[in-house]
Every structure is written in C-alpha cells, then in structure tokens.
C-alpha cells in the first residue's frame, strides 16, 4: 500500500530558523531612511518593532534559535504533513512525483501563524501591552489574533474596508480570538481621519491600513506594530516549513528538482524554498526554485529592481526590491494575499542573481488548478495557494511531455474555506483574467527615483 503522508514527531520541529542571508553571494542592500535616503539606523525602528525582531531583521547569523515557548506553541499543529499528491498525479497521468507541504492544517488555516507566534512572543517578553497590524483578506490578522490571545496581548487590526465588509467570516475569526478589528480608513488615527475628511467613502487599501497601524504604534511606548510578510524576520520564521520538508523529503527518499511557492510578499515562498536553496548556494546542488505570482501583479517578472516604499503612502523605509511601484493598483483578484506591489529584499536580491525563477499565473488557470486539486486531494486550496498548484501542474505536464520522472514540491500555504465566494465566481464562468500592458506597469514603475548604486 502506497504511503501518502510523511509525518514527523514533535521532536523534529526545528530548533532554529534558517537565515539565508548568511549564505547569499551578494548580501541584500541596506534599507534607507525615507527622509535622508541614507542607510537606516536600527534605532530608527525601535518605536515601531520589538527590539529582538529588529535584530533578526538585520542579522547575518545562519541559524537563529527558536525560543522554547514558541516551539511549544508550534506543537499545536506542527510538524505539518508532507503529502504525496497521488490523486493529482493520477489525474495528470504524469511520471512526475508531486509532493506538497500542507500548511493549511494550522488552526488559523494558513502558514501565517509560524511568524505570528514568535512576533507576539518577543513583544510580550519586552513588556509591550498591545500590538497593531493591518490586514487585507485577513489571513495575517487572524493568525496574529490567535497569537495575541495566547500571550495575553491586546490587538488592534486595521482591515481594508472593502474586505471588512466583503469578508465578514475572517473578521469574525479575529473577533472570536479577541482582537479589535476596525475598518480602515478609520477615525481612530490622524492618517485615517485625513483620508476620510477628503473622501468619506474611501474603501481603503493595504497602504492606508499600514499607515494607520504604524501611526498607532509610533505614539505609544506600550504599543508595537507587526507585519505578516515581506520583511526579513518574517521570512526567517517561515523557514520552519522548508526545514521540516527537507527531513520529510529525505524520508521519501527524494530531493526535489523544483520547489514552488505562491508569491505575494514572499513569506510562504521563502519558507518552503530557502532551506532547499541552501544546498545550491552552499554545495552547488541543482534545483529550480519557482515563485508563482499572479499575472495581474507581476513584480518579479515585469517589475524593476529599485528602492521603493513598503506602503502606498510612503511612510516606511525604502527597501531595495523588485517592484511595480508603490502606487501600483493591482487588479481585484481573489488572491488578496498576492496583491502587493513589491517583493521582499532577500528574494529580490536572489532573483536578481538568478537563484529564483518566476512564473506568472493567470487567475483562471489558478482556479482550474485549485479545483482539480480539490477533486483529487480533498483540500480546497486558498486562492493564493492555487498559484503554486498551477505552477506544479505545469511542471508535471512538462515532465510528461519529456518523459522524465521529475520530483516536484510545492507549498500549500492555506485552505480556501473562507474564500468560497471566489470559487463560486469561477464555477459560474464569470471569472476574469487581467492582462497588463507594458504601459500599465510603466506608469508606476518608471517614476521611481533611481537610488540603487
């Protein structure tokens, strides 16, 4: 009888996160202060982030120990299973072996909890009383809400107004875990009030929500801000995914030819792929790493490598990244978590140095892949995760054409049970692909100041 899942014991939960910066040929360029445009001083970040997280953000240490308290909480759902997708393989009639790491079994339904728990932990340890954050579709906000509940921290979530109204289930989840959730723009911050004064019907954006959440932290020493992707320390925490998967692929007696993650800001993508990429960086091992981004938000394939802001308003430090420009307005695709204009600093440098490939997935192809996966493997994937599945299916079809037995690994970053309205639209035949012209992209990219040396 064929083995389907590769399971680890709790003792196999990694004891340290992997920091790929230590092994990078070209280290990432430093973030710049938005005012002086000079490299940022770590102390500039102190009012916003917990000290330990700033240290991790700038660290070049290869391994960073996971605190025992965090590891204990990881046990709630980790290690997650590595699954051989035999049903999908059969449906594709491919010689390829397809594996996926199932991060959807976390109590919040996605990988986001891997970073929410340590972020809450370090803040708690520092004596912080309250966290703030922004959330779009709500995956990150939900994860942080549970993490704050565990550590007895208060939490204010600024949720993009249009999502607040359209995704009531994820708002309810955050509230069930005890968070205060506000539709952004709100009247609770100067940033929000300014925007509402100008435009009372403003439906919000991730950029505005970031501004509100950051503002709340800056003016109160007992409050800190947290972010769920893009930044180095977030990516660091997510490497538990790939470190476990590495052991599990060994159990399966295989090493992947290709490792795939869907790509928004980079957290789940980096989490699954960096521990495998390490073997290429350190030992020259042959492996293809694929970031599966939505065709409607193609920062890695069609963006430029420039210094740009992390938010729309322009309050954050300038980060060196592949970007479509902080003014870029992504189409209203269902994969809310992938609607971000820039790629994290580390991934951007790795892509520039040809260590990371990219594939652009049109929305309809992603949902075709998602439904096929649901019908063969059971789990209905999150709209974000369907991009990774679509890329895996491309690789499996290519293996069939070439008659080669390739080993494919992708990350199932979350399930889609809160996103069923997206599947409704797909099944109704009314789903759109969004094609971007070069002019669309040039409008927001070409106006960026050229600060890369």
């Amino acid at each position: 009888m064929a083995t389907k899942k590769y399971l680890l014991s709790e003792n196999d939960i990694p004891t340290a996160w992997y920091n790929i910066v230590a092994d990078m040929v070209n280290k990432p360029l430093p973030p710049l202060h938005p005012g002086t445009k000079q490299p940022l001083n770590p102390s500039d970040l102190e009012p916003i982030f917990a000290t330990e997280l700033i240290k991790q953000e700038l660290s070049q240490e290869r391994w960073i120990e996971i605190p025992e308290e965090v590891r204990d909480l990881y046990k709630i759902w980790r290690p997650t299973p590595l699954v051989r997708a035999t049903g999908l393989e059969k449906a594709l009639d491919t010689p390829a072996h397809i594996y996926f790491k199932n991060e959807g079994i976390s109590p919040v339904g996605s990988h986001k909890l891997n970073s929410a728990l340590p972020q809450a932990y370090y803040n708690k340890k520092q004596g912080i009383k309250k966290l703030t954050t922004e959330t779009g579709a709500g995956q990150w906000g939900a994860a942080l809400a549970f993490a704050c509940s565990v550590f007895g921290l208060e939490l204010e979530v600024y949720m993009v107004k249009v999502s607040y109204n359209q995704k009531p289930y994820r708002r309810s989840m955050m509230q069930t875990w005890g968070a205060d959730v506000y539709a952004s723009p709100s009247d609770r911050t100067e940033s929000g009030r300014k925007i509402l004064a100008r435009d009372p019907d403003n439906s919000g954006s991730l950029g505005i929500a970031i501004s509100e959440a950051v503002e709340k932290s800056v003016f109160d020493p007992e409050i800190r801000y947290t972010l769920g992707s893009v930044l180095n320390h977030v990516i660091l925490h997510q490497t538990v995914i790939g470190l476990e998967a590495e052991k599990q692929m060994e159990m399966a007696g295989e090493f992947p030819d290709v490792v795939i993650g869907c790509f928004g800001g980079g957290s789940n993508f980096s989490g699954i792929s960096f521990p495998f990429l390490r073997h290429k960086l350190v030992a020259g091992k042959e492996i293809r790493i694929v970031a599966a981004e939505p065709a409607s938000c193609p920062k890695l394939s069609r963006g430029k490598f420039e210094y740009d802001f992390g938010d729309t308003v322009g309050l954050t430090p300038l980060l060196p990244m592949y970007t479509l420009g902080h003014d870029f307005q992504p189409a209203d695709i269902h994969a809310g978590g992938l609607r971000y204009h820039g790629a994290g600093t580390i991934v951007s440098q790795l892509h520039k140095d040809h260590f990371v490939d990219v594939e652009d997935i049109p929305q309809i192809e992603s949902f075709e892949a998602g439904q096929l996966f649901a019908k063969t493997e059971g789990t209905i994937p999150a709209p974000e995760s369907t991009h990774a599945i679509a890329s895996a299916i491309r690789a499996a079809k290519k293996a069939k054409e070439e008659g080669k037995q390739k080993t494919i690994l992708f990350n199932l970053s979350g399930h889609g049970l809160i996103d069923m309205s997206a599947y409704d639209q797909y099944l109704s035949g009314n789903m759109k692909n969004y094609q971007l012209s070069d002019e669309d992209i040039a409008k927001t990219v070409n106006v960026l100041e050229h600060l890369v040396p």
Copy 2:
C-alpha cells in the same frame, strides 16, 4: 518540554471497523416495515442502499474489514492527532487532563468523510452510477461530494432550502467537488412538487430533503441513497476515530475516565466512544460515556424509547429509538447537525441499558466553551462540537472542585470556519437559549404508536 500531540503513523490506521452490536448485552430491536409493522426484510432496502451497506447495517460480526481502497483514502488525512489541551487546562486551572481527537483536520473539515468514502466505495463497486443524499448545514453533503469525486460517481444533494440560501459557502464547497446541489423542496421530485404546489414558499426541512433524495433512488436502478448519521453502518465506519484514539491514549499512558461526543444522530459520538465502551462491556472497566446534546433537542434525556420514523414525512422504516417524535420541530440553533428528532438504534439501546449518559447543553454555554477553546487551543470549533467541549469543561471543573485528577477525552468533530456567522451572533450578545416545556415535548412524543414489545 511537554508533549502536546500523540501522532500515529499511516500503518496505525485501523484495518477493521468495530461493530459494538457483537458485544451488546441486549441487542437492538429490529427495524420494522412502515406498512406491515413487521421486522424488515433486508431485501426491502435493496432499491435504496448498496447491498454491502445493508449487510453491515444488520451485521453482528465484531470486526468488519476496511477495504484496502478505503484505507488508502483515509491516508489523505488520517490518522488524526490526539491532542492534550494544555492551553484549555491552564485556563480552567484544573487538575484534570483533557485530551481531544481532532477530526477537524479532514479536508472537508469534519468526521463525516470517515463514512462518505466507504459508502461511495461500496456503491461504486456495485456498479451504481449516481448517489443522492440530503444535507442540512452541509457537512455530510460536502464529505460525500468529495468522496463521489474520488470514485467518479455523480451526486445529487438535496439541501434544506433555508440552509441553501443561508450557507452559500458549504454549497460552493459541494459544487467545487463536482456535486449537483438543489434547494429542497425542489421541482425534481414528486415529493418536492407536491409540497411546492401546496406551499410555494416552503423553506424546507431535513425530513422533506430525505423524502426527495430517497425518492430519486427508488425509481432508478443506477441510483442509490446515502445517509450521514443515525444508521448502524454509518456509526460502524466512524469507529476509526475511537480505535485510533485508543492507541493514542495508550501512548499518553492514560485511560479516560470520561469520553464525550456531541450528539445529533450519533455518528461522531459513537465513533469516539464505542471502542472505549467496549472495555466496559467486555471487561467491566469503569468509564463514563457522555452524549452532549443541545438542550433544545433533548431526545436522549427527555424523549421516549419508541419505534419512530427516521424522517418527518414517514417514508422510512420504523426504528426503535429515543425520539422526540418525527414531527418535532427543533429550534433554529446554529448546531444544525444536532437538530434531529431521534437517536440511532444502537445508542438508544445502550442508553436504555445505562451504558450511555447524557448531558443537555444550552446554546450559550456551548458557544462560551467554543470561544474559550478557540482562544486557548487555536481551532474555532464547529457549533456542534462546542457541545462536547462544554461537557468536557463541566467535567474539568468538577474535577477541580473534587480535587481529583480525572482524564477527559472528547471528540472535536469539526472546525467552525464555515459557521462564523454563528460566532458573530454569540459575540454580539444576541444569542438565545431555547427552553422547552414538557408540553412542547409531549405534543410530538405522546402521539407515537407504542410498538416496543
């Protein structure tokens, strides 16, 4: 570092289901033909159910082998973890050890898949082309939709109209897996058309949906009907839960003092508890088995042991069971899966013989328990499962009062991510408890014909 989860390997998935009938002191009374009121002939059921499932329904064999194909599919998510609820224990400050079996990690979000897969398998093997079923909240319909997708069977689901409109997410799930879902009453059946002619705005009931689904199977030899609870063969399939839990409690070095399941028709309750109850039946081992039913639908505690119909209309065989009467209209509580007038035949006999205790949980207490569980253990439980959690919390508080270290095990039958509107209502403070007077109950129970010998 404390162990949190007890994990089994795929080899530990049981090879046989446990049939408690073999060990019962008093065997269940036979089902009666609704026309003749004489014991049913197995062949009477042939037009409705697959032959192998009828055999299982009437079997007195202790162990019934799980087909290799079904066991292979169980591997998609089984074995499920047994979890020590350390967060909940801490919050309750109790000396009790609380364990739960997490059936919510199944791809459909509940235990229902344990029976959906074998039911689809046996029908496929018999050459059946299409299945029909009814569903209320949609947990069973969703599980069967995935099972039919795997075996290439068509599926028609009759979903209670009010749920069809109020729970679009679960309808979408079924459709994503490929099922045809109809709001019941529909114009596709004689039963449906009759009701609509009389009452075009009829919002449906489980009883009507059963009539429609059964009718579709009776008149076509390539179609069979399936049910997700109550019947002996469904309960049989669910014993994989308790059989795994038995091994996992051994790993934890404990034997439960009390085993708890929420109670609707009896499938998850029997699944977790029968393998433990066996030790009492066979070896006299001390153990308390608790069915946690909603106070608004108290069939075990306040119903009568009589022969009654499984459906509201009165088309099914007469089953000997604790019932509130097939006309009983349960209050509109959020735990849709517990809104059923009768208890399965086997559980009814065991309750009559004092092997099964019952606790009635008011709706608000169940959601208080559900939120506390979410905040301490992460998973937001299904409204049904919150009843089991509430009962476990009662037991843990009692242990604290008595200063005794009790071992408590309950089944987390599913997660509640599709039911967040219920949590919304709870958090808003507008949730109701439903108190039933003796007169409310007497109205539908006292009119039943007395056929129990």
